[in-house]
């Protein structure tokens, strides 16, 4: 069956993120001039404006910034999943990431520690999601 949910828009800027995800690596764009780490990727470093940008693995850890539940399908592909989890995670490196909370979520609380897990949702697409660490 074909994958009915929205796919990433792959372009030269975003391709490394999705290639790394398929190898179970959560990665961030890192400025080789000043070390600033950012996501989504940017054509120049938002801190120092350098064009010299690379990708590095993130620790995979973070804290739960916020969480909620979509009861409305803005894309038809999500209609059968309603309601589905949504979350924003503050990665240990600093950037925010919109994602989903998976696994046991009843202890979800702003500030709770989370770690990345990788869901293969289609042959060519892996989504980094997060679970509570319980710490």
């Amino acid at each position: 069956m074909s994958y009915a949910k929205p796919r990433p828009r792959i372009d030269p800027l975003t391709a490394p993120f999705w290639e790394n995800a398929r190898r179970n690596i959560l990665s961030l764009q890192v400025c080789t001039a000043c070390g600033d780490k950012h996501l989504p990727p940017s054509p120049v470093c938002p801190k120092c404006l350098s064009s010299d940008q690379d990708w590095r693995p993130a620790s995979g850890g973070g804290v739960l910034e916020a969480y909620g539940e979509f009861h409305r399908a803005y894309w038809n592909g999500f209609a059968d999943d309603l309601p589905y989890s949504s979350a924003i995670v503050r990665l240990d490196e600093g950037p925010l990431m919109a994602t989903n909370l998976v696994g046991e979520t009843s202890a979800a609380k702003v500030g709770a520690k989370v770690r990345v897990v990788f869901d293969v949702v289609a042959d060519d697409l892996t989504l980094p999601r997060f679970e509570l660490t319980g710490d």
Binding site: R7, P40, P46, W75, I88, L127
Partner: protein, 376 residues
């Protein structure tokens, strides 16, 4: 001198007008805006030939708008249809007046989002986060409100006070779309859209248009009605961490605090002086965040502050006396500014705030603005 000080108590609102609010598939942005312009012009007592500044917002072509209205202005500006341009537009038009680029500026906003079935999410506003199903300004506000709940103990019943108060006001406003009173229980029972937010936390989607005419205070005396003066403006934009729709990690506390402080300082007033408050309410939590940022209550305490009808007419701080975006009309801040004018003129009928001398408008958005109005 801060550039905003050029504006201080020098610019007046002399005309306001609006269309009915609802669903008008038979017309378009130009038809709606022209209707609002005609009403504002009549309200001001000016002749069309005196209008020499044109600002359009959420209207596709300023050229077509000028053609429809038969105008050849000396100053034109166009702003996109984002829900934060009203405050920016009024400040920009005021600057055009004080720098002599125009004598009478007509600002118009039109929205035909209901007839065009705009969704405000999904493929209409593509983002990096679509594969995870995260989308929509409502989603971002649900996240911010959840954060406020967990950090400060705010409840959805407290949030309900916002929707209930604004609906109460809409029931007193002949123009408003929503006319059925609601209770805290109705708010709690409403279907969820993005939990913790439900249907009654979301703005309406309706068609309509608003027009405002501004001039310099010294020219305002010649107009039909008593002028309403702009005595303070403040601003803070936030783009650095803006990619998750409208999500802001501090619920825009710092930006609102800064924009508010600048506006209060310029106006020489503070929160206790505000007789009526017009608060951008794309979603109900925005009102709580704005109250905290402006200092109407301490940070984290807006839930308790709004309990027991604080925002209702007769309460401590009558807010969105027209019903706001939640219950009057989704005019993206524009209708709130004409409501400020009508309150200060004493034209608000059944929803009039007694002895209304100072009204504040604020929009807590990626472009946070506040404008303080007073009657002459």
């Amino acid at each position: 001198m801060a550039s905003g000080d050029l504006i201080r108590d020098r610019v007046s609102v002399v005309g306001v007008g609006n269309t009915p609010y609802g669903s008008f598939p038979e017309t378009d942005e130009y038809g709606l805006a022209a209707h609002a312009f005609r009403n504002a012009l009549e309200d001001s007592g000016l002749q069309k030939s005196q209008i020499d500044g044109l600002l359009v917002c959420r209207i596709p072509s300023y050229v077509r708008m000028g053609e429809v209205l038969g105008l050849d202005p000396g100053w034109t500006m166009t702003l996109p249809g984002h829900g934060r341009m009203a405050g920016m537009a009024i400040v920009e038009a005021a600057m055009a007046l004080v720098t002599g680029q125009a004598k009478y500026v007509a600002l118009m906003y039109a929205n035909i989002g209901r007839s065009r079935r705009i969704n405000y999410g999904g493929d209409e506003i593509p983002s990096f986060w679509d594969p995870w199903g995260f989308t929509s300004p409502g989603g971002a506000h649900a996240m911010m409100f959840r954060r406020h709940m967990d950090l400060y103990g705010t409840t959805t019943r407290q949030l309900a006070e916002v929707s209930v108060a604004f609906r109460h006001h809409a029931c007193l406003n002949p123009d408003a779309v929503m006319k059925k009173p609601i209770t805290i229980e109705d708010h709690e029972a409403a279907r969820r859209i993005v939990a913790p937010l439900g249907l009654l936390d979301y703005c309406l989607i309706n068609d309509g248009a608003v027009c405002i005419i501004l001039t310099m205070k010294d020219r305002a005396r010649d107009c039909r009605k008593a002028p309403v003066n702009i005595i303070g403006v403040g601003a803070r934009d936030e783009y650095r961490e803006s990619n998750i729709s409208l999500y802001a990690t501090d619920c825009r506390y710092a930006a609102v605090k800064e924009a508010g402080a600048v506006a209060y300082r310029m106006a020489g007033v503070g929160p206790p002086d505000i007789d009526a408050f017009m608060c951008y309410d794309n979603f109900s939590p925005t009102v709580l965040f704005t109250l905290e940022g402006l200092g109407f209550c301490p940070r984290g305490e807006a839930g308790r502050f709004v309990e027991n009808g604080t925002l209702k007419l007769g309460g401590q701080l009558p807010t969105n006396t027209d019903g706001g975006h939640l219950s009057n009309s989704y005019m993206q801040g524009w209708a709130l500014n004409i409501e400020a004018v009508r309150q200060l003129r004493g034209e608000a009928g059944a929803r009039q705030v007694p002895d209304c001398n100072v009204v504040q408008y604020a929009q807590a958005t990626p472009c946070t603005r506040s404008i303080i109005y007073t009657r002459a």
